[in-house]
Point group: C2
Chain length 210, copies 2
DNA sequence: ATGTTATCGATACTCTTATATCGATAAATA
DNA sequence: TATTTATCGATATAAGAGTATCGATAACAT
């Protein structure tokens, strides 16, 4: 169970899918084949096998992969084995929804607080999480060594708030705005681009309709 | 302005980014260069140019692309030129947030109603949108010829609700669950996979930290 | 008027990702 | 015990996406 080169992004994106299946079958199954996983996900068998090889686990010909071993390897690679604290900026619709989503814990993410600039919201709690003034961002992040910032602010201020996050010591930004952020390349940015996703849906629908 | 082959998904995903810039400069600018766009988005100049060529617009050497023409081509390709109606299923945290997000209008999407199975919510309005019983799904979708369904239900029932959506005549599913849906290939599925996105962020952070 | 520069289109190349093939292994079956 | 079958690893091939190069064009500056 060693990792030689870094795992590709497409592979990493599929790992949570594999994980869901593995967790489901774990109680009753000791070995799993790449075929079983690929069938359930409508993927190619060889793609699953290559992904698993990529994360450093080896299977046994004619037998399959050890389920427990796979789970541990993926958990370790994704950091789901120990919790990471994060803060969220922007308590609009989306920000509030993310604060209330209890599924992140399963993925090792713990949002400990939110920040906003609206005086009417500062000091309140949303889904049990305190909302602080964006101005005091760094006091919390630095004291608690927070590395992850979730960006859920309006587009117009996205870049500016991102800069503030980095200034406050954040290393990784989960960007829910449709803005391509301009940051140093030592900062990790992962974007959830709803506009892009909708564009794909929409263009495919358009292509079918005519 | 003709489209020869279908535009690639990566290209489509970048179009909204281009659009934001085009809309911004439109009032004051008639021609735009691929360099200007690429600089503002930290992309390669040639990638922008190839994308624009891909959607069927031609520029003028030494001059650039006509801004108005670009906007119209992209709007047409993405279907932003005329509104599409959609329904949403699942009024948990995420569902409610999507109902309240007013930015979709800009992308030609209009959520006209929500559906849920919880009797306490059925009959209410969320962000001004009515919530109906999931059981009466088809009566609305068929009457109004709705093509797009937004799936924001718990993972356990995702496949089952997707089947119900298709049964009710939905052609395209915007899937916010982390479940890989199993559908006929005449049905369009576009997934917003937060688990996958978080996995990428998390693995990159893990790689940096050691 | 002439040269320089920014720009595009077309073609070629590289890199990453996905898929196919084949021999080896061990379980299950005849 | 022999044969079939499902499975893996390794290597090779194909497909897709990104990037580089070069000649042509027209605006701008000299």
């Amino acid at each position: 169970m060693k990792e030689l080169t870094s795992v590709s992004v497409p592979t990493v994106r599929r790992l949570p899918l594999y994980m869901a299946i593995l967790k489901e079958i774990e109680p009753t199954t000791q070995y799993v084949s790449s075929t079983l996983i690929s069938d359930r996900l409508n993927l190619e068998q060889i793609q699953v096998r290559k992904d698993l090889a990529g994360i450093g686990v080896t299977g046994q010909p004619a037998v399959g992969f050890n389920v427990r071993e796979l789970i541990e390897a993926i958990e370790q690679l994704l950091g789901w084995d120990n919790m990471r604290d994060a803060i969220l900026v922007g308590t609009g619709n989306l920000g509030q929804a993310l604060l209330g989503y209890d599924g992140f814990a399963r993925y090792g993410l713990n949002i400990i607080a939110a920040f906003d600039s609206n005086p009417e919201i500062i000091g309140m709690k949303i889904h049990g999480k305190p909302v602080f003034d964006i101005e005091v961002l760094s006091s919390l992040t630095e004291r608690m060594h927070i590395q992850i910032g979730i960006l859920a602010v309006p587009s117009k201020v996205a870049q500016q708030v991102a800069d503030a996050l980095i200034e406050a010591g954040i290393h990784a930004i989960w960007n829910f705005t449709p803005v391509k952020l301009n940051v140093n390349n030592n900062i990790i940015v992962e974007q959830v681009d709803l506009a892009a996703s909708l564009a794909v849906l929409s263009s495919k629908l358009k292509a079918v309709n005519k």
